[in-house]
């Protein structure tokens, strides 16, 4: 059960690193936030702070409003020499140019984690393919499938995590806990100051993540809060009221299902191929209805057998769904939740069994440097047709609503134009109202579900919020 962290009871550890002389002293709280994240990463690498203590410091960092704008958690980043060296190089560059602005320090951190392309060997690709198909497969099971030694699989796994940022996350049907997941797409009105709007959005207690790049006029904010139609109605009205003054365009999607696909069979001898379907314009190749191979998780609504404890476990499994029950339990304890290992095992089992969570494998650095998000507003039959294309894409995540579908796809750079043009051209189909793109360098992280839950009220086993709290307009005007 959750307990509050009592200030002073568990003092924050002093974090020092062998590289402290490279870390400047700044007054701006936003700049300090990123510097502390950098210091923590370097301390983890140098071994001057334990992972448990580092997690405690991250809990403290989350209080900085900058965390909502750009969730930055060094404890979930891969700790290795390659990234450490890039961070050190970037700190030296900051020192050379005497730059201590929040933007430049943030760039120093985020650019360091942009994955360099590393060739993947055949064995690692086979292991990754197994994990992509079945993210929770044990090392022994993979070894049996591939007819290789378990030790070889373990070594592969280490390399995959180190060089290809492989991690194991899960999608979750949060409606099982009475929680709504919502995405609000927007285009800013001419002359509106994005920095002020971003700060307002970050202050909105239900914001999970914000994406608005410098090169695109379209952005989105993803939100999560307990409630139903009444709460959604308040949010919807509030967002609509901002059209004309803050936004030129708003489009609200309430999650009804979601999924993740990857197609590593498109990678042969280090080269990605592209499906003929994508290469041709949609007019030339009809878009068929979805096949049964999609890994879709539907939102089934509130299920009373799932309690806040299960929600807490879900939140941890989204960070690492292969984490041991001990690790999950320990991590939850740091966040103020007393959940023992047995409870974690039981909860995880039920969450998977009853399809409240769906594990999936995330990877990077194998030539998929093109990241797109498409907001597709379409009729339901077109949602199905568009989803049927997902197994043709190297890596895809999708969020389905009654309004359409939101796609995040990762594609190789050399085929970026083809994928972009294919999905954009769906807009010309009858039944598809619009296909709006956002191009990004990386898919950004988000605040954890437990971070958001701190802002919710609780009665018995239900979370709730005052409906008036969902007035987004009051934060942006």
């Amino acid at each position: 059960m959750p307990r509050d962290l009592v200030p002073g009871q568990s003092a924050l550890p002093e974090v020092s690193t062998p590289y402290d002389d490279l870390i400047p002293s700044v007054d701006d709280p936003s700049a300090r936030f990123y510097l502390e994240a950098i210091r923590l990463y370097l301390a983890l690498f140098a071994g001057t702070v334990s992972l448990e203590d580092a997690k405690r410091v991250v809990e403290h960092l989350k209080e900085n409003p900058e965390f909502a704008k750009s969730p930055t958690d060094p404890t979930v980043a891969p700790v290795n020499e390659h990234f450490m060296k890039k961070i050190i190089d970037n700190l030296k560059t900051l020192k050379k140019y005497n730059l201590h602005t929040s933007d430049s320090i943030k760039s120093a951190y985020s650019f360091a984690f942009l994955n360099d392309e590393t060739p993947i060997n055949d064995r690692d690709l086979q292991v990754l393919s197994c994990l992509a198909r079945s993210p929770l497969s044990t090392v022994n099971a993979i070894a049996r499938t591939l007819e290789i030694a378990p030790k070889t699989v373990s070594s592969s796994l280490v390399r995959l995590k180190d060089q290809h940022a492989v991690r194991f996350s899960c999608l979750s049907d949060n409606t099982a806990f009475g929680i709504q997941s919502v995405m609000l797409f927007f285009k800013l009105s001419e002359g509106v100051d994005w920095a002020a709007i971003e700060t307002g959005m970050a202050g909105f207690p239900f914001t999970r993540s914000i994406l608005k790049t410098a090169v695109s006029d379209l952005g989105y904010v993803s939100l999560m809060f307990p409630g139903g139609e009444q709460e959604l109605s308040v949010l919807r009205s509030s967002a609509s009221a901002l059209v004309g003054s803050v936004f030129d365009y708003v489009s609200l999607h309430v999650q009804s299902s979601m999924g993740a696909e990857s197609n590593l069979a498109l990678l042969n001898n280090g080269t990605w191929s592209i499906s003929e379907v994508i290469r041709q314009p949609p007019e030339a190749a009809p878009v068929e209805k979805a096949g049964s191979t999609l890994h879709v998780l539907s939102c089934g609504g509130r299920r009373k057998e799932f309690q806040p404890l299960d929600f807490a476990v879900t939140s941890e499994l989204r960070s690492d769904c292969r984490a041991s029950p001990e690790t999950v339990s320990q991590s939850l304890r740091i966040k103020g939740w007393d959940v023992d290992t047995k409870q974690v095992i039981s909860s995880t089992h039920r969450l998977i069994e009853r399809r409240v969570i769906l594990p999936y494998t995330v990877f990077a650095g194998i030539g998929l440097s093109g990241n797109f998000c498409f907001e597709v507003v379409c009729k339901p039959d077109w949602t199905e047709r568009i989803l049927s294309l997902m197994p043709l894409v190297p890596a895809a995540l999708y969020f389905v609503s009654s309004r359409g579908v939101i796609l995040w796809i990762q594609v190789p750079s050399q085929h970026q134009v083809e994928y972009y043009q294919y999905f954009r051209s769906l807009e010309h189909k009858r039944g598809v109202e619009s296909v709006l793109p956002i191009m990004t360098l990386v898919q950004k992280g988000s605040r954890s579900m437990l971070d958001l839950a701190r802002h919710w009220k609780r009665e018995d086993d239900f979370w709730y919020v005052d409906t008036d709290d969902l007035d987004l307009a009051s934060y942006l005007t």
Binding site: A214, V215, V417, T440
Partner: protein
């Protein structure tokens, strides 16, 4: 063909040539301490495999012309944009029309350059400007008269097979830091364009030859003039004129193709202030990119880049837009391959009343 690999000897010659694109083969041989035939052999191999050429940026003003550049954008289905693109394709003054295949937003866009004769500025039919001013239309047209042009090729980033490009943190930080000192830093390979003044058709012919070949000989110019039925001055006079025009009206740059730069991207910057250091910053920073061209006027600047991958484009664009965001509006897109037309030649044909070269 996207990449014809280069050998160390090719790179050595190219890197030396890029330091001073006006160098002749004999000077290169001396500098590199190799024989003249060896330079000649490497040079001709590069001409064959990578279309090596020393071209010229041209001061159009000195021959009574202006370089007008700009961009138009509208929704992908806009009939007005289609009409504008059709006009660009048919107009003989237009030297370049690069259409978007992928933009950062939902609009389609086209970047263009046109060389107009003295007193004929802007070169568009009024209807395009009317459409752009019409608030009910989504067609937008921005244009400017070029004041400075620069062409860049950075072979220091190429090992003959792969490009190593820091489009990340260091590029963003150095560009941001450099912006404040742009007015005192030198812009290499940059040519300031004069205001248009009258000139003779013979000088225009000489410049037309030099535009395509900086080292053009008297014989090449004589042949060209005779194909236009122009009276050729005596050889000594022509030589003097050729040398004078070469040194006063042109700036050489190295042209090379098939070097693995497969994507062409365009970044359009609309600065509200004429005093903005942004155009200067682009002229300077373009030299750190693999292959780039910058055209800037009083309020508009355009950076055209050729890059090995689109990832580079997004990273670079993000960094540049991040830096320019407070003082300018920007538009960036991936463009189709576009052929550059020889406009000075078109102008010469108009002036001499000919349909084509003999």
């Amino acid at each position: 063909m996207d990449l014809n690999k280069l050998e160390p000897a090719d790179l050595r010659l190219l890197r030396r040539l890029l330091m001073n694109p006006g160098m002749r083969q004999s000077d290169l041989a001396k500098d590199l301490q190799v024989s003249r035939p060896m330079v000649n052999q490497t040079w001709h191999k590069l001409v064959r495999t990578n279309h090596l050429r020393v071209k010229s940026s041209v001061d159009y003003g000195k021959v009574g012309m202006s370089l007008v550049f700009g961009w138009a954008q509208a929704s992908e289905t806009s009939d007005q944009l289609k009409a504008f693109c059709a006009w660009l394709d048919s107009n003989t003054q237009v030297t370049l029309a690069s259409r978007s295949v992928m933009t950062s937003g939902t609009n389609a866009a086209v970047y263009f350059e046109a060389v107009t004769s003295l007193g004929r500025d802007p070169p568009f039919p009024a209807r395009f400007i009317d459409w752009s001013n019409d608030r009910t239309s989504d067609f937008g047209l921005r244009y400017d008269v070029a004041a400075e042009v620069s062409n860049h090729l950075n072979m220091g980033l190429f090992d003959g097979r792969q490009w190593t490009l820091d489009e990340g943190f260091r590029f963003e930080v150095s560009t941001g830091a450099m912006k404040d000192y742009a007015d005192v830093l030198p812009a290499m390979n940059s040519l300031k364009l004069s205001k248009p003044s009258a000139c003779t058709v013979e000088n225009l012919a000489v410049l037309s030859v030099l535009e395509d070949s900086y080292h053009a000989s008297v014989r090449e110019v004589t042949e060209y003039m005779s194909r236009l039925s122009l009276r050729c001055p005596p050889e000594r006079t022509l030589r003097r004129r050729l040398d004078s025009i070469r040194s006063k009206m042109t700036l050489p740059y190295v042209f090379l193709s098939d070097i693995g730069l497969i994507h062409k991207a365009v970044l359009c910057v609309d600065s509200s202030s004429q005093e903005s250091p942004l155009s200067r910053m682009l002229h300077i920073q373009a030299g750190t990119l693999p292959k780039a061209r910058v055209v800037s006027g009083r309020s508009l600047s355009v950076l055209s880049i050729e890059l090995p991958s689109l990832w580079n484009w997004l990273a670079l664009s993000s960094s540049l837009i991040q830096i320019t965001k407070s003082s300018a509006k920007t538009l960036t897109f991936i463009a189709q391959e576009s052929a550059t037309r020889k406009t000075l030649e078109k102008a010469l044909l108009r002036m001499t009343g000919k349909q084509s070269l003999a």
